[in-house]
Assembly symmetry: C2
Homo-oligomer: 165 residues x 2
DNA sequence: CTCGGTGCAAAGCTTTTGCATCCGC
DNA sequence: GCGGATGCAAAAGCTTTGCACCGAG
C-alpha cells in the first residue's frame, strides 16, 4: 500500500476540518472517527455503509457498524461526506471535500454512477427557492438512463450484453 | 363519499390503460389490482406503501401488504404511478397519469413536499444524455430547503416554530 | 383445469437502540 | 472520575419470500 502524497495531503486537510467541527460541536475526538474518515478519503469511490464496514474489517480495524453509522452522520453533518439515495434501499456516500458541485447519471443497466456538472442546476435551485419562498440548502439531481451499446451490443460501461435487460 | 365526475373520468381512463398494460404483458386482471389503482387515483396526494395499505384496510377492502407491493411494481412499470425517495427509508409514490413533468421541493422542517416545474431540467437531461452517451429514461430533481418564517417565526407551511429545528 | 396471484407469516436487509464497558477530556 | 462513545447483540422498520389456497383465463 504505497501512499499517494496528494491523497495524504487531502487526508490531512479533512482531518483538520473534522477536528474543527468536533471541537465546535463539543464532540469527542475518538480514534474510530478519524479511522473512518481516513478510510473514506483513501479512495475516491462511492460506497455504502456495508462496503465501508467490510473494508475496515479487512484491514483489521475493529469498528462496529453502529459506530460507522454514527460517524457517517457526523461526517454528513460536517459536510465532509455527502449522502445519496441512488436505488431504493441503501444510502450511498461520497467524499465532499475538494469536489465541486456535481450531479449523477445512474446506468439502469449496470448501476454504475457517473458524475456531471451543469450550472443550470444551480440556476433552477435559485429560481425555485425564491419562487416557493425556500432557502434551498441542498439538492439532488439524478438522471437514470440506458447506456449506448458498442458494436457487439454490449454496454459501453460494463461490457455486458444489453440484450439481457 | 360523493363522487367527483372528473376524478371518476380519470379513474376510468387509467383503468383502461392498466388493462392494456396487463394484457400486453400477459398478466392477470385481478380485482385487487384494480382496487389498488382506484384507491391511488381517489385523491391526488403523495403516499407511501403503509398509508395506502391502511387506507384500503379502513375501507374494509381486504388486501395484503405483499399484494400492495406487487401491484405498485406493476403500476410503476406501466408508468401509471411514479416512485420517489424523498427521505432515506420508505419509498413514496404519486399518480403519474395526467400530470405534466414536475420536480419536488422538500421542506426540511416539516417534510412537506411541493411540486414545481422548470423546463431547464429537461434541457439538462438532454445535454447530459448526449454528452455521456446515455438515453435518459427518467430523472429526479429534489431541492431540500428551509421555509420562510411568518411574522411569529413559524414555518409558513406547517405553522410550527422554526426555532425548534 | 392450470398456473399465476393472493394472504399470511416468516425471513431478509438496512438501520437504530439498549446496555455494559471503555476512554477522551 | 464523569459522561459520552463504542461494541455487541437485539430490536425495529421496510420489503421480499415461501407456501397453501384461490380464482382468472
Amino acid at each position: 500500500m504505497k501512499k499517494d502524497p496528494k491523497v495524504e495531503q487531502t487526508k490531512k486537510e479533512v482531518r483538520a476540518l473534522f477536528t474543527q467541527y468536533l471541537e465546535n460541536h463539543k464532540q469527542r475526538k475518538t480514534p474510530e472517527r478519524y479511522a473512518i474518515l481516513d478510510e473514506i478519503y483513501s479512495s475516491k469511490t462511492h460506497f455504502d455503509v456495508d462496503e465501508l464496514f467490510l473494508k475496515m474489517k479487512s484491514r483489521s480495524y475493529r469498528v462496529s457498524r453502529a459506530t460507522v453509522y454514527n460517524t457517517l452522520d457526523l461526517l454528513v453533518e460536517s459536510e465532509l461526506v455527502k449522502r445519496h439515495q441512488f436505488g431504493q434501499n441503501t444510502s450511498h456516500y461520497e467524499q465532499a471535500f475538494g469536489y465541486k458541485q456535481h450531479d449523477h447519471m445512474i446506468c439502469t443497466h449496470c448501476k454504475k454512477v457517473f458524475e456531471f456538472c451543469d450550472p443550470r442546476v444551480q440556476q433552477i435551485s435559485n429560481t425555485m427557492g425564491s419562487l416557493l419562498k425556500f432557502e434551498v440548502l441542498s439538492h439532488s439531481l439524478h438522471l437514470y438512463g440506458s447506456p449506448s451499446a458498442d458494436e457487439n451490443g454490449h454496454c459501453l460501461n460494463c461490457s455486458i450484453s444489453l440484450q439481457k435487460l
